[in-house]
Amino acid sequence: MVDVTHGAIGSVPPAEVPEMDLYHPHSWWTKYVFSQDAKVIAIQYSGTAIAIGMVALVLSWLMRLQLGFPGTFDFITPEAYYQFITMHGMIMVVYLLTALFLGGFGNYLIPLMVGARDMVFPYANMLSYWIYLLAVLVLVASFFAPGGPTGAGWTLYPPQAIMTGTPGGQQSGIILMLVSLILFVIGFTMGGLNYVVTVLQARTRGMTLMRLPLTVWGIFTATVMALLAFPALLVACVMMLFDRLLGTSFFMPAVVEMGEQLRTNGGSPILFQHLFWFFGHPEVYIVALPAFGIVSDLIATHARKNIFGYRMMVWAIVGIGALSFIVWAHHMYVSGMDPYFGFFFATTTLIIAVPTAIKVYNWILTLWRGDIHLTIPMLFALAFIVTFVNGGLTGLFLGNVVVDVPLSDTMFVVAHFHMVMGVAPITVIFGAIYHWYPKITGRMLNEALGQFHFWVTFLGAYLIFFPMHYVGLMGVPRRYSELGDMALMTDSAHDLNAFISIMAFIVGFAQLVFLFNLVWSIRHGKEAGPNPWRATTLEWQTEHTPPRHGNFGKELPIVYRWAYDYSVPGAKEDYIAQNDPGEYGAPGAHA
């Protein structure tokens, strides 16, 4: 491609990006509550997501109490256990991870990183948050509904999801769940349009696509995927709502329940599975791609080295995004599908490992001979790489039909899934919060508490999920609240289960330390200054810290280089900011 000679630089007119009609807040309400500022919306999204995530954390404790010490706690009935599973899974995947990565980090970072004043449709952005909050409230309401929340499992498979035997199936639990999901999709679509159009149309001068930080690439691609995949969830939810409320037979086969023939007839539960997983598999990457992007930036910044293979990283993100739409049926190997069909999906599943492996190599090669600072964001980034590789390897096992079939109903799948989609993205979220907290609040998070939080979380997560693989390989099935003294529940399996439960409590409590740190440091943290990590990207170059409404000063920054100019030989400092004209002089100097 063209290597640009320095003479080729014409004069750069000052930022011509027009001042968007920003709605400047006039009162406390419009500034902090009904705000149209993406940064405030980001914090609202994050706060809500973390709050509902804490509910899901407590639910996981309750489940572990039952699994570790079966029969000890009377209030955990089998029905309650299923409700805990369902709500834990749904909250963590949809209402915490998706909302936090896209609604939280997307809102905060996209406008700042691309050099825009705000999202392009601030009003729709505000609406997006409030609809999300409504979705969360409807979900929470189901805990208090008669019969409690749905216990259908987080995949909500019909027909059991809407039948009498399932908790909430014939009460309001499942209805509230479906309504909440529909609201979530509508709210997300409003936000998603914002994120995509902002990246497409509101980049500042000089910010070509290939100069975008990988964080933006990850969030952007994930948002495009989410916009295309969430409609499948919407369709599945609407159709199931029809089945449940109006008695149609989209998914409901002929069923005899308690000796009585139901009015439904001939429906196809498999149809639901196709729709659900057409959303469900891209969802994995909707969560993973922002994590990939963010971790790339964390590693480059804290190892003071340019990212290895930037182009390859971008292509891999786009490639993974496209491929993830043709692997959905690998979640359905045990649904009795045509073996050739399964073979096709096993192949596509294994192909997706190629771009993913490229990314892992590039992270490691970025670290290679870098000036690694073991800051807390870096520690979490390293933890992510290790965990993601671990979880990814068991994914290769499960991607093969013959291996998946015997393992499909065991705790092995639970362990795999939590490694790759639970622990891995959560470590990135923590790393990202430690990294950007100084920009959001102007103060650093407490280092000692952070170290404590990292080591307990990282080691603890492994002590939870590594043994779980073994429990699964021993044949212990998932989804059962109690197995009693079956042959496969040996003493060692019981002991491992108890151990896992105790570790789950310890790791859970470490998160309280983190929450304390978040609150405490707002007032008592060390002053951070505008750019404590000496990073290159635009969000660290704002006039004010934290950035005010409008993000940048009078003029938008002009971008002269990519986001990874670290340790450039001959440069004054070990980083060159993206808007640093360097040897090209100030804007207009060449006129």
Partner: protein, 235 residues
Amino acid sequence: MTVIVVALMVVFGIAGWWLSQQRLMSKPWLESGSVAAYPGTESGPMPMAKVGLGILLAVVGCLFALFTSAYSMRMEYADWSSMPVPPLLWVNTGILMLSSVALQCALVAARNGHRDLVRLALATGGLTAIAFLAGQLVVWRELEATGYFLTANPANSFFYLITGMHGLHIVGGLVGLGRTTARAWDRATPRDRLTLSVELSAMYWHFLLIVWLALVVVLAGWAESFIGICRQLLT
């Protein structure tokens, strides 16, 4: 799931074509310097609202492709019995076409700056769209009166579900059209702002018309027979 996969291929095709214009092969680490050296890589000149609407339409297209996918998969089960197309549906289709034509006229008038014509055409478009919705309700009534209840057969369930979803999108469009019409009556609206507003409405309307025509083809069973003919030709 063939329908949605095909729809996605179209979306991916467009996205891929756009990406191929963005110098994805460039080596940004060698190319520091002013943007003036890299023409065509900045944010495009298209209005943001138009880009936003384009993406929204892709999402809506996927939504209906998914409904169609579910329809064609459910169709293969034994209890399916197709339902006749009520003749009134053709009248409604005609009305929706008229609505689209009216909005196209509004767009032409807006570009030429004839504000009175814009108002007339927008009002016509809105009223015909409302007439379409009323017609759809009549179709539902007729079907129910002749025993094609929602739960009687999955074909019926899908008919009500899909036409209902399409109707909801028209209602959403009417909200936007209402705002456009209000702008057309407001003398303070600058001309290019009004033109953009009308253009967006027209875009949405044409898209929903295309979706509707595709849905009619599916619901009337023509898609099925067309695929049958293709299969015969191939074998």
